[in-house]
Subunit: 302 residues, 2 copies
């Protein structure tokens, strides 16, 4: 076993969390309040928004206002999803520190989601990555459905490796491997990771595991054993699962942090403040707190 | 890594689950319906009741009626908690296959729970174990608070080992190690297990991990790596945490089974039937289904 000494948590709640929240569009002030609180917890990488057409994702329609409204904390990377060149230009104008493109390892998922093949999706990302390079903006690459697809079931680790490598070769500085529907288990996670790490250095990989079947922490523990040192998570488990009503999506950042603290792995994030932030955003949204640590510690910590 | 090929799941819901349910006393027919359904899922070890004074645990007041009402399936071990000799005699009369005594690794917890020292608690168990031996009834020994105590915090692994060994030497055939408040993390679980396994053979140990902080599956994965092959769990996560309102207690059997299936470990338990049983009991009790697998699969599986 070779656990990393330090893990960087990449906070997903303002983007991957809120974009999946049902109900009315969330006020910009709540989004900026969440992002500022997350930075105050010690998180150094926060995916703040998605620069995507509001027709597709109404919840993210105020991305520029969100970026303008936050109090930027030195040392924090505020990133945003930018599916195309127009999104990239808007994100650049809004002053994001990093952009991200979002691919998948499943042909069916790619087809259903963005109506093209994986190869075509990669072609669409290329100009975004190139424009970002020209502006000195790092690009994060997401690969979703790495341990299973809602349409075609199992995904071959070699396919995940192929897409991850294509994004890495294109210029993405970090590849986030998403178990979008949370169907993975630890040995599957290790096999998938091993396949990818044969093509992309493990220090360039992030684990983005959803907790739909309750397996996320076990899977994270398994890939931490293999040296993964970047983990995506969402405070209070914000963001449900679009493929199973009432089920969990993102693993809760509080629960991941509790695990890492227990393993003696440093993150620089304050658990009490994070739990309080989870309770705060759940109160604002009138939703259940999806973090077990949050539930266990109640509203007592400040 | 040396995962076991086969794991025995010990189903806790009829006892450790239901005894913690708030609200009115649950009808005997619901309890027997649950137990019969669990046996039909393929579970071979079900803790069916607690033969304890109804003054202490009103929810378990019908233990004898439960034992009389179930349809006993050949090959299934129906066990019961028997804190004292009177409880043992009643359990024997009711025809249980196995009895269990319940100790703790924390002096403060023992004092608060049963108003005596650990040493005194072991003295109280001795006549139960002896009587069981005389009747050829195997005895399971529980050790609670193995990774932390609500009153004194950390518990030394050596203390857990001492109590586990005392129960084993007394004649308990299996020792179930309980993280009663769910505060453990994987390396802590491994250290605790290693300390105990130096005194009691690992094949005589069971992991009874609560999911209060969401760590149970990661902890189970960690001790499976070390050869633990008996796991206690409760369908639908039945039984909350008496130490944190609204928090989780027992890890859900469905979620454990999903993990084990993913690791290729055989249990003989049918996941779809188990999920259906979880939904059934939650409907009967009007409570939330605490299994993430249950939530993800909804009520669709039969």
């Amino acid at each position: 076993m070779a656990f990393p000494k330090q893990v960087r948590l990449v906070e997903m709640s303002p983007r991957d969390g809120l974009q999946n929240e049902p109900g009315p569009v969330i006020a910009t002030a709540i989004k900026t309040g969440l992002i500022d609180r997350l930075a105050d917890c010690g998180l150094t990488h926060i995916e703040a928004a998605s620069f995507v057409s509001p027709k597709w994702v109404p919840q993210m329609g105020d991305a520029a206002e969100v970026m303008a409204g936050i109090h930027r904390k030195p040392g924090v990377c505020y990133s945003a999803l930018t599916p195309n060149l127009k999104g990239f230009e808007n994100a650049l104008a809004a002053g994001v520190d990093e952009v991200a493109v979002f691919g998948a390892a499943s042909e069916s998922f790619t087809r259903k989601n963005i109506n093209c093949s994986i190869a075509e999706s990669l072609e669409r990302f290329a100009p975004v990555v190139e424009a970002a390079r020209n502006h000195g903006i790092p690009v994060r690459g997401y690969v979703s459905t790495v341990m299973g697809c809602p349409y075609e079931g199992d995904i071959a680790p070699a396919k995940v490796a192929e897409v991850a490598r294509a994004l890495y070769d294109m210029g993405c500085h970090e590849i986030s491997l998403g178990d979008t529907i949370g169907v993975g288990t630890p040995l599957k996670a290790k096999r998938m990771l091993d396949a990818v790490a044969a093509h992309v250095p493990v220090e360039k990989l992030a684990a983005h595991f959803h907790d739909t079947y309750g397996q996320a922490l076990a899977n994270l523990y398994a890939v931490l054993e293999d040296g993964v040192a970047v983990i995506d998570a969402s405070v209070a488990g914000l963001g449900g699962c679009p493929y199973a009503k009432g089920a969990s999506g993102n693993v809760a950042t509080e629960d991941v942090l509790y695990l890492l603290n227990g393993l003696g792995i440093n993150t620089g994030v304050d658990l009490n403040k994070l739990v309080a932030t989870g309770h705060w955003i759940c109160q604002q949204l009138g939703r259940h707190n999806g973090s077990k640590v949050g539930q266990a510690l109640g509203g007592n910590c400040q």
